[in-house]
Every structure is written in structure tokens, then in C-alpha cells.
């Protein structure tokens, strides 16, 4: 009895710091999850981890930044502006680059990585390597929510990304196009024989991926900064989330993203801040050796 009480005294209380970190982790996880949805769908359809989404992440953040600074567009209209840019780039790459290379998976992968580097260097050339601050004064107001100190912006990220998850889930689950996407990811030849226009499905999938990647980038950039190297880590982590969650699974992307985001945030606070970005690698190795098909994967 006495012993347990002593242990209890040493145990950290669940105080508001932990809850604040939990919220931060969830928000980070939602961003990874958003980016992972597009990647997981592209990956399940074409067996291609589309690294070029990392480049789209950078370019659309810059486009949003530009439209805020140069055109004085409010932040909430900059989100769709950046998303349109993301869709255009993504579909353009699908049509011009991936379609001719589709026969060979290896060339597709190389081309995707080349595009990622190309876009990163385009960002350096156009906007210099200096980090820019995308400031949104209206939403960067501190907020005390039952002791959790946060900003309105984080709450907005939470709401928008949860809404997007629900919308994408409904789209994939219940619309005709969503069913067609799922059919193509099961087997593209048979889906083609059933009268599904697979080319159109590719375009829709890539457009969806580009849009979600851009929205994720624009949502997170007021919290960090806009700079040419901003796409590296989110891309890698979204790919880990795809593997963790399982191919082609929207729920998997959401749960995987949340797990990674929370582990990363708590790891940075309680284990080592220097290796914050290393935890994802350990999760990746554990997933590959223990459950290669991911948490919600079918195959």
C-alpha cells in the first residue's frame, strides 16, 4: 500500500501540458494524414510512391504565400488558390510524365524523385532559400481551452482537416467515382473491362492527391515557415503513414497519421527533440518487420 502510494507520487500527473502536447500531436498527425490520403490512393492504384507530391507541397505553399502577400487575398481564399495550383501540377505530371512511363515502375519512381528535386530547386530559384513567414494575424490569437493553451489557427486546422477526411471518406465510399477508384485499385484491367475509364480515374486520383497535399501545406505553413526545404520531412512522414496505415485505406491514413503525430510530439518533449524526425523511421522499420501490410491494409 505504502509502496504504491510512493510510486503514485512519482508518476507525472496528467496536467495541461500533456493535453496541449496531445492536441499539437493530433494536429500534426492530421496534416500527415491529409497528405497521406493522396499518396495512399496513388500508391494503391499505380504502385508508385509519388515523391513529386513533396514538390507540390512546397510550390502550393509558396503560391498561397504569394497570393496573401502580393494580392492581399485573405488566408481562407488562399487555401483554394494553392489547392488549384496543386491540382494543376499534379494532373500535369500525371499526364506528361507518369503516363508515358507507366509501363516501367522503376522509371516512374525515378521520375517522381526527379520532379521532387526539380520543384525544390524551382522554389529556390524563384523565391530564394530564405524562409518566409506566412502570417495570418486574424487566427494567430492565443486561446485557453479548459487549460489547454493553443491558437485559433490550430483549431481551424483541426476543423478543416476533419471535414476533409469526412468528405473524402464519403466520396470514396459512396459516389460512383469513388467506387470506380476503389475498383481500379483492386485490379485495373478488370475494372477497365467493366467499362471504367481508367485514364479518367488516374486524373481524378492525382487531382485529389494534389489538392489534399496543397491544403495540408497551406494549413501548416503559418505554424512553421515557408522555405524550399519544407517538403522533405512531411513527404517522408506521409509515406511512413501510408505504410503504417496500409495501402489504399483512408481510415488507415487518418489513424496512422494520428499515431505518428502524437508519438513525434511526445517523443520530442519527453525523449529527444533532436531525433523528433527519427521516430518515424523507427516506426517504419517496426511496421515493415512486424506487420508489412499496415494496420488497415488488405493485402
Amino acid at each position: 500500500m505504502d509502496r504504491s502510494r510512493r510510486e503514485g507520487a512519482g508518476w507525472p500527473m496528467i496536467d495541461t501540458t500533456v493535453l496541449t502536447q496531445l492536441l499539437n500531436g493530433i494536429i500534426l498527425g492530421l496534416i500527415y494524414g491529409l497528405m497521406a490520403i493522396g499518396l495512399t490512393m496513388i500508391w494503391s492504384i499505380t504502385d508508385l510512391p509519388d515523391f513529386s507530391q513533396g514538390g507540390i507541397y512546397i510550390i502550393s505553399a509558396y503560391v498561397a504565400y504569394w497570393s496573401i502577400v502580393l494580392l492581399n487575398i485573405p488566408y481562407f481564399f488562399a487555401i483554394p488558390t494553392g489547392a488549384v495550383m496543386g491540382i494543376l501540377l499534379s494532373v500535369f505530371f500525371e499526364r506528361i510524365v507518369y503516363k508515358p512511363l507507366r509501363a516501367s515502375g522503376l522509371s516512374c519512381l525515378l521520375a517522381a524523385i526527379a520532379l521532387f528535386f526539380l520543384l525544390e530547386n524551382v522554389a529556390i530559384a524563384l523565391w530564394t532559400p530564405k524562409a518566409k513567414i506566412m502570417s495570418v494575424p486574424e487566427t494567430e490569437v492565443s486561446l485557453n481551452l479548459f487549460g489547454i493553451v493553443t491558437t485559433y489557427h490550430r483549431i481551424i486546422i483541426l476543423i478543416i482537416s476533419v471535414l476533409l477526411f469526412i468528405l473524402v471518406h464519403l466520396f470514396i465510399k459512396y459516389t460512383k467515382m469513388g467506387m470506380a477508384i476503389r475498383a481500379v485499385s483492386e485490379d485495373k484491367e478488370i475494372a477497365g473491362l467493366m467499362g471504367i475509364n481508367t485514364d479518367k480515374i488516374y486524373v481524378v486520383t492525382w487531382a485529389l492527391g494534389g489538392a489534399l497535399t496543397s491544403v495540408a501545406a497551406i494549413l501548416i505553413s503559418p505554424l512553421y515557415a515557408v522555405w524550399p526545404g519544407m517538403g522533405d520531412l512531411p513527404l517522408l512522414k506521409a509515406l511512413v503513414v501510408v505504410i503504417l496505415g496500409g495501402f489504399g485505406s483512408i481510415i488507415g491514413a487518418l489513424i496512422g497519421g494520428l499515431i505518428l503525430g502524437v508519438i513525434e510530439t511526445f517523443g520530442a518533449v519527453y525523449v529527444s527533440a533532436a531525433y523528433q524526425h527519427g521516430f518515424a523511421f523507427i516506426i517504419l522499420l517496426l511496421t515493415l518487420s512486424l506487420r508489412p501490410r499496415g494496420l488497415f491494409g488488405k493485402r
Binding site: 519512381l109 525515378l110 522533405d232 527519427g278
Partner: protein
């Protein structure tokens, strides 16, 4: 018959041109400035890594993006052993190469059992993870300040490696030996097994080849070559910095191999 004759002629011409190139390279320190020697040494190291990478990527058909990481692990491992623990280069070199082989086996084992692009993603992340270690383990690697004070290899008998020329010749010699060994490897039975995996790994598995083991073997071989090049790099340039081994280097090695043209 005529084809055979042509082949023989071509072969002898190839041999001749290789000998001429080697003489030009070996005599480089006699007529070129030290900067040119420096660049040539770097080029030879990269050529070594790219040749090793071709075994994995070209022959076995597994795309990986972490040769720069193995290069860095080899370099830092040898530097730490020689400077912090006072080992000689000739002791540290085999241990560093073995260590690189071990790391690559640990990483490759879970990743290579899977088909598709898992492997590429894992190696891509590995390159970044290794960079993070170089950057953050300041007590071990010096972190962003770099790792200084690396000595040139100890002399073997009368052969001293204090001068840049002799060390350049060591790199050239290593390149020739490693290149010859890799040629021998890819033309052996193991090389044919590698090629069969790259052409159709399901078919290769169905005729009784343990594809996972051979993929791992080629991964470890390519890593060991990169690690050895890293060891030479550390003792030739004598200053290591994490950004040298950032993931861009890995992409550059992929591009080098691609531009040179990969087998199959």
C-alpha cells in the same frame, strides 16, 4: 567467325584504352595541379560507389537511395576509431567496412522481403536518419562543426601516405581492385542470379532462388563498397561534415549510375 574476330578486336581495343586511361590517371600527380588531383580522387571515389550501386540497382533491379548514408557511416566510423580511440587506419578500415555491412543488413532485412516500392522509401528515409545522427550526436561526430584531426593512413614499410600523391594512388589502386572484383562478381553465378531477379523476381523465386537473400546480398555488397569509399574519403580529405552526406549525395549517385547506363 567474323563476329568472333570482331569481338576479339573490340576486346583488345577496350583493354588498350583502359590501360591508357589508367596510365593517364596514375601519372596525374606528375603533371596536374593538386586541385586536379583532388577532383580526380573525388571522381574515383564516386565512380567506386556508383559501380557498387550498379550491382544493386542495375543487376538486381532494386532502386535504393541511401548510398550516401553508407558512404558517411564508413567515413565517420573510421574517423571516430582512429581519432577518438587511436586505432591505426589499417585496423579501423576493415572494422568500419564490416560495420557498414552490418547496418545495411539490419536495414535491408525487413525492407527487402517486400516487393514494390517499400524498399525505395525505406532507404530514402534511412539516408535522412543517418544525416540526423551525424548532425545531432555532437560528442561523437562533432555535429555541424565538422570532424577534424583525421590522420592520413599509417605507412606500410617504406610506403608513406603523408603526401597527397601517394594517397591518391591508394584510392586509384582501391578503385581498380574493387572494380575488378565487382566485374568478377557480376560475371559469376551470383551475378546471373542477380540479373534473373531484376528481370522477373517471381519467376526467379519459382525456380528455387532465395530472392530475398540474394537481394540482401547485393544490397550489402553495394553498401560495403560505398562504406570503403567513405573510409578512403575520410583519410584523404581529413574533414567530415554532415552536409557532405545529406541525401542529395545519394540522389547524385543514382544519377551518376543512371547517366553511365545501368545493366539490363
Amino acid at each position: 567467325m567474323e563476329g568472333n574476330y570482331f569481338k576479339k578486336f573490340f576486346y583488345s581495343k577496350t583493354v588498350l584504352s583502359i590501360i591508357i586511361i589508367l596510365i593517364i590517371l596514375a601519372a596525374l600527380p606528375l603533371y596536374a595541379s593538386s586541385y586536379v588531383v583532388y577532383v580526380a580522387a573525388l571522381a574515383l571515389l564516386y565512380a567506386m560507389i556508383a559501380a557498387g550501386y550498379d550491382v544493386l540497382c542495375g543487376y538486381t533491379g532494386q532502386l535504393s537511395f541511401c548510398q550516401g548514408a553508407f558512404y558517411g557511416i564508413g567515413a565517420y566510423c573510421s574517423a571516430i576509431l582512429t581519432v577518438n580511440y587511436g586505432w591505426s587506419f589499417w585496423q579501423a578500415m576493415p572494422i568500419s567496412v564490416l560495420f557498414v555491412g552490418l547496418v545495411s543488413a539490419i536495414i535491408g532485412y525487413p525492407a527487402l522481403r517486400l516487393r514494390g516500392s517499400y524498399f525505395a522509401v525505406t532507404t530514402f528515409f534511412l539516408a535522412h536518419f543517418v544525416y540526423l545522427i551525424f548532425l545531432n550526436e555532437i560528442s561523437l561526430t562533432g555535429g555541424p562543426l565538422g570532424f577534424r584531426g583525421i590522420r592520413p593512413p599509417e605507412p606500410i614499410g617504406p610506403l608513406s601516405f603523408e603526401s597527397m600523391t601517394n594517397e591518391y594512388l591508394l584510392i586509384l589502386f582501391s578503385f581498380i581492385v574493387i572494380f575488378a572484383l565487382l566485374r568478377k562478381l557480376v560475371n559469376s553465378n551470383i551475378g546471373f542470379i542477380f540479373k534473373s531477379i531484376s528481370q522477373d523476381d517471381i519467376l526467379a523465386e519459382s525456380i528455387g532462388i532465395n530472392t530475398a537473400a540474394y537481394k540482401l546480398l547485393s544490397f550489402v555488397i553495394s553498401a560495403i563498397v560505398a562504406g570503403y569509399a567513405g573510409v578512403l574519403f575520410a583519410h584523404f580529405f581529413r574533414l567530415l561534415h554532415p552536409t557532405t552526406f545529406a541525401w542529395y549525395l545519394s540522389e547524385m549517385i543514382v544519377i551518376m549510375t543512371l547517366v553511365g547506363g545501368w545493366e539490363p
